[in-house]
């Protein structure tokens, strides 16, 4: 048991950090911590992406709507032309 105790003591013994440890940790923190501007710009980028996607969807919907409207107008044009054509025939026959 002595050797085990000795090994544990060695392993858990308090060791002082090297003298430049605090400086290195603080330096690393300064380098890696995101700045508030960076944090904001990430949100701004996300918001811009949402705006672009929503704008694209709205433009696509507008395009679809105009296409549907043109199809409806064409449908009524064809139907009305045919009805008018038939009316013209009836009128001719009545003369």
């Amino acid at each position: 048991m002595d050797w085990l105790e000795q090994e544990l003591k060695n392993a858990l013994a308090r060791k002082d950090p090297p003298p430049d440890f605090a400086g290195r940790v603080l330096g690393g923190v300064g380098r890696r911590a995101p700045s508030p501007i960076w944090r904001h710009s990430r949100w701004l980028a996300a918001a811009a992406a949402v705006v672009v996607i929503m704008g694209g969807a709205a433009a696509y919907r507008q395009h679809q709507g105009i296409e549907a409207k043109e199809k409806v107008m064409l449908a009524f044009r064809i139907a009305a032309v045919k009805v008018n054509h038939i009316q013209a025939h009836i009128q001719e026959a009545a003369r």
Binding site: F76, A79, N84
Partner: protein, 174 residues
């Protein structure tokens, strides 16, 4: 129970709409045609399009009013370079559906000069028109129009003079 009832009503409505709508598959004629139009506008498309029709524009406003209660518009038109590209058998499937009791032919015009047949059928339910079919068949032309839903034929005819359609002056007999 309410959900089941709603589902049942929706199924009944769909079945009714399907009965009103003519079924015609004439895609094979498109290959022979020099010009063809295929329009399938269901109720949802019509209501969506209505949002883009201006109430300020006279023509668009008229069409907007007309489609408000419609359930669909289905059109197939073919124009052929030569006569005889289609046969009466092509129309038989459509005619068969129009022989149903709910359909009645209100106009039939046969033009000997042009060799053209034009007919208007209406579908009535509870004494109200809830569907129209227009068949125009000439040697070089075939048109089938099916409007599903309550249609006012006078309003449709009154589009003459609008939408770039020349107005036909109908003299009413006294």
């Amino acid at each position: 129970m309410t959900a089941l009832r709603a589902l049942g009503l929706a199924a009944a409505a769909a079945a009714l709409l399907s009965a009103q709508q003519l079924k015609f598959n004439l895609d094979y004629l498109a290959a022979k045609a020099s010009d063809s139009v295929d329009l399938s506008l269901n109720g949802a498309t019509l209501q969506f399009a209505a949002r883009f029709l201006s109430s300020k524009d006279a023509d668009e406003s008229k069409v907007k009013k007309m489609i408000a209660s419609l359930d669909g518009i289905y059109i197939r038109t073919f124009e052929f370079k030569d006569a005889g590209a289609w046969s009466p058998a092509d129309l038989e499937g459509v005619r068969q559906q129009l022989r149903g009791a709910e359909w009645s032919r209100i106009v039939g015009v046969k033009s000997g000069q042009e060799g053209e047949n034009a007919e208007i059928y209406v579908r009535t339910e509870n004494k109200k028109i809830n569907g129209v079919a227009i068949l125009v068949a000439g040697p070089k032309e075939l048109t089938i129009v099916n409007i599903v839903g309550p249609v006012d034929l006078d309003s449709l005819a009154s589009l003459g003079g609008h939408l770039g359609i020349p107005k036909v002056e109908i003299t009413k007999q006294k």
